[in-house]
Symmetry: D2
Subunit: 337 residues, 4 copies
Amino acid sequence: MIIVLKPNQKQETIDAFIKKLTAEYEVQVNTWVGTHSTVLGLIGDTTVIDSEYVAAQDFVESVKRVQEPYKKANRKFHPDDTVITLPGGQKIGGGSLTMIAGPCSVESEEQICLVAESVKKSGAQFLRGGAFKPRTSPYAFQGMKAQGLELLKKARKLTGLPIVTEIMSIEHLDLFEDVDVIQVGARNMQNFELLKQLGKLDKPILLKRGLANTIEELLMSAEYIMAEGNEQVILCERGIRTYETITRNTLDISAVPVIKRLSHLPVIVDPSHASGINWLIEPLAIAAAAIGADGLIIEVHNDPSHALCDGAQSITPDQFEVLSRKVNRVFETVSAL
Amino acid sequence: MIIVLKPNQKQETIDAFIKKLTAEYEVQVNTWVGTHSTVLGLIGDTTVIDSEYVAAQDFVESVKRVQEPYKKANRKFHPDDTVITLPGGQKIGGGSLTMIAGPCSVESEEQICLVAESVKKSGAQFLRGGAFKPRTSPYAFQGMKAQGLELLKKARKLTGLPIVTEIMSIEHLDLFEDVDVIQVGARNMQNFELLKQLGKLDKPILLKRGLANTIEELLMSAEYIMAEGNEQVILCERGIRTYETITRNTLDISAVPVIKRLSHLPVIVDPSHASGINWLIEPLAIAAAAIGADGLIIEVHNDPSHALCDGAQSITPDQFEVLSRKVNRVFETVSAL
Amino acid sequence: MIIVLKPNQKQETIDAFIKKLTAEYEVQVNTWVGTHSTVLGLIGDTTVIDSEYVAAQDFVESVKRVQEPYKKANRKFHPDDTVITLPGGQKIGGGSLTMIAGPCSVESEEQICLVAESVKKSGAQFLRGGAFKPRTSPYAFQGMKAQGLELLKKARKLTGLPIVTEIMSIEHLDLFEDVDVIQVGARNMQNFELLKQLGKLDKPILLKRGLANTIEELLMSAEYIMAEGNEQVILCERGIRTYETITRNTLDISAVPVIKRLSHLPVIVDPSHASGINWLIEPLAIAAAAIGADGLIIEVHNDPSHALCDGAQSITPDQFEVLSRKVNRVFETVSAL
Amino acid sequence: MIIVLKPNQKQETIDAFIKKLTAEYEVQVNTWVGTHSTVLGLIGDTTVIDSEYVAAQDFVESVKRVQEPYKKANRKFHPDDTVITLPGGQKIGGGSLTMIAGPCSVESEEQICLVAESVKKSGAQFLRGGAFKPRTSPYAFQGMKAQGLELLKKARKLTGLPIVTEIMSIEHLDLFEDVDVIQVGARNMQNFELLKQLGKLDKPILLKRGLANTIEELLMSAEYIMAEGNEQVILCERGIRTYETITRNTLDISAVPVIKRLSHLPVIVDPSHASGINWLIEPLAIAAAAIGADGLIIEVHNDPSHALCDGAQSITPDQFEVLSRKVNRVFETVSAL
């Protein structure tokens, strides 16, 4: 951590601050005196030092971290890729491409079973489906809730596909006991109380990047889960909010190699939410597979124009079949490079 | 609602769609046939029509709302300003400027009481203070929690100032029973389950705009609370995330007059979080008062450089005293224009 | 074009406006009268109607285009892909992947010739290199200017590679007479006077997307060039500015399929400027090839750590050789899907 | 400048780099050896060191400037406010509030004279008006060009108001000889060749912030002009591009106090372009005056609904008269605080 002090500070102020830092944290402090400012350099474990606290000192001009503020999610301290393995043997991470597919929301037993069977046939290893739906409008369909979770389990029983579904509130935790992978949506990426609770489970958590969150903040949210003991975290890039209006969000494809360099956690891509447009899903899925994503999560609906939500960004089972074939072909090529 | 169809659609497809719309919603549909496309115009109550559902039809090119998708928060249906009045007589909205001040987080009885007394003396009508603190890092101070709420109540008893404090989880609702105004932080603006619960209370809710949320989304989140029956919502502009890095966020000052035109709800401004820099708070507070904000929420700490959080954006009680005087002077001038 | 009027307008105001529209433009106007507002629908060629002019009428609430505001760049009126062919037979567009490579800036005859020969050997079909350099700081190296152009021509003579180089000012047009492809940088995307001049040439123009420009604005800038008669425009996605700070810009990979759907012009990707980090260039290049880009423009420097500009985002000739091989392998796979 | 090196570098590499830095620049280099990385601290004049060059060294992890990269625009080296004074005595900067008003574009002698007279009566000290108009569409009105400049001069002769008008190309420089203040539009903020030419004039330059440019980049563009000898630069905040769609841009009101702290140059605000909506102009103008802007530039049109451009964001002379009175009243109050 590098601390630039404002010009013309009293030596005793600086000395007292250094004394405090070395007393409270396991760090050493070096000092440089420049023409316009004095700079302090902290060496040691600075992860636990709150940079906002440092910045608040009235003699501090600015603070810069040299070390990343996350530990458990940091590849530096955990060089090997984390591979998430489910009891049924399905894997996420470690050099394979995992396909997670299913409807935006569960609508009926018939619908979810039909989609589950079709995506399984096309090679999906996980079934996604929303039971609790975060919607901008209180007047929009909010999901089938507990009943939706039951239908997901029926589809799982039928197909053997483990289920991935979103939790929206700590209150619902009990209902999710038998869910295979719990998803935290973009809007809850910094719902820290929820993250802490999920950190106490022994179950994979799929953590989506928030609409306006940096990659570092995403890793800090993963750290919230991991710090409580649950290290099975899957990160998901799903588009960020920019000024461009043709696409619903802007897929930050660079996030995949960047996260893989900074962290050992698996990273998947959600081209459905990233674009919001069904004809963009296949090209984005191909690009994600080509750049090294560990998986894809894709909205598939048997009848998009009657979907109760996100129809405009859903593809049909037939389109998924084609997508799946192409994506796997590209993934094989890239893996062999 | 205006629906642009893709070119070359079969007449029966269009007819069936129109029939469905008029059957399910209280709307009339007009049709225009253009050179390149056909356009449908819906007249009636389109608030409850899910525009994503419409966009998902494979013959639909684009959808545009003419009417706003919110009702209870909409000034069109409620032309008069909403004024929130507390049992003690304190008001927010309706032509006055309400000052809410206090530390980022409650740290001790001495600290909160000292700050409460000093901000009261300078004219604050409400005391703010965080007991549950949303922090990016799991290693940063997370607030005094339940104990912090107790200390806030002690400060209230001492000064008579009603308290404003942030809720981070539905689980804590019981603890907030005796809180005067419950704050929903920027990161929870779209925590819809929390909003619904708060909608069942008979207590003012201070709803902060999310870092990447549009004004329309903020009003939709207010609508979530109001749709459950609680119409005492105070909106808060606290800066949005942009590419500029000198300030922590970019205060969207235009949001104040825009929201006041679209909605009857009171709007306050948080210059502390908007800027993240203590020397910017006074000028931003003055600008907010000048543009017609109904109030300000400001972080004041007796000793910013020892604050356990947000010290860099806190001002001292003395600075608050000066700010308060200046802001009120500007507010009087503007009110008399 | 759909025009929503403010409520409660006088009939004669509306009638006069419709009369004016039909008199000045080749359009028909349909009218709907809704509960809260009246809507006008314009049918015909609305490209030439200035939507800002319409929005400025005091009885107009909002304006929405149904038709795109560009014609010559519009795939609707020109369904086949435009293929740019150079006198030497090199092509951009139409199903091939064109590699453009070379240093950020020309630094010496030795450097540019060495890089040109090496990138040619690795399969590049064009040589890039900056002679006039747009730099944020007036104190940074500004390029070798006219002399740099001469050195580029020497490298072209040596290798046969056509040259692509950036123009920064109309004043320099004469110097660019013998340049093969003239590049317009991101900062000049809306330098309309420059675009008009380039529209009078018979030479391909490589037009980069501005840091904060929408895809529609990029196509409108292409339209500026094409409206003057020069239809040889190559579009380039090079990253847009967002709040993320790890990468210099955020590559908007979705822009490639979106532009290809809206326009017939070829689209290339610049992974060097998009990321600003050399280890990100290969993965981004692979993703771009996978998603269907018509080409790549990549900064290659024989000695990045001594480059006079953009060294941090340059790769070495050896790295380019590897990249080129991988990218072509992915492109072949995708082409065969 | 602080340079963080990648871990595990050879000592001779580091030594050679330090030797090079001290040989080429007037700096001293301090070294810290930390657990995970080595850090170099440069003391001296680092303004002329290209931080991109440093970042390009393959052993460098990251670079951070402590000192700002601009000198002539820097308040540190020029503590007193710059006041621009015109031959006619009109001033910008130094504690007054300068009003610049006029139509988006000059449309006829009658129009420009009528507006000029009316804004003068309401207290404007400068007349603005566009002769060369940067328009997104090549099919939109492009301004009256040279003829427009002549009409502006007629209006100046009539009213005595100095004229402010935008230059779009170096080629037009001769035409601007008799213009009082030359404006550089947002789209040309980084048209560096133009800036250099303007730096050779002895005439105030009004430099607008680009849509996606940081405050530091704006100051660097001012530095381009000043480095050539022309220190009469007026900066203008006119809204930046964000994801919010209700307003055309987002006025970054914090930029005013931030720039005034970093630089001695005067800063004005353009509420017309910032909002794009006429009913927002007055509140934004009031806020700008309250926060300490040195002036306002406002679009006023005698007949906004017939304006050839930007009508939606123009106000009438009567509205300007009211605005001017209110804004001055607020400015007086704030000045007296």
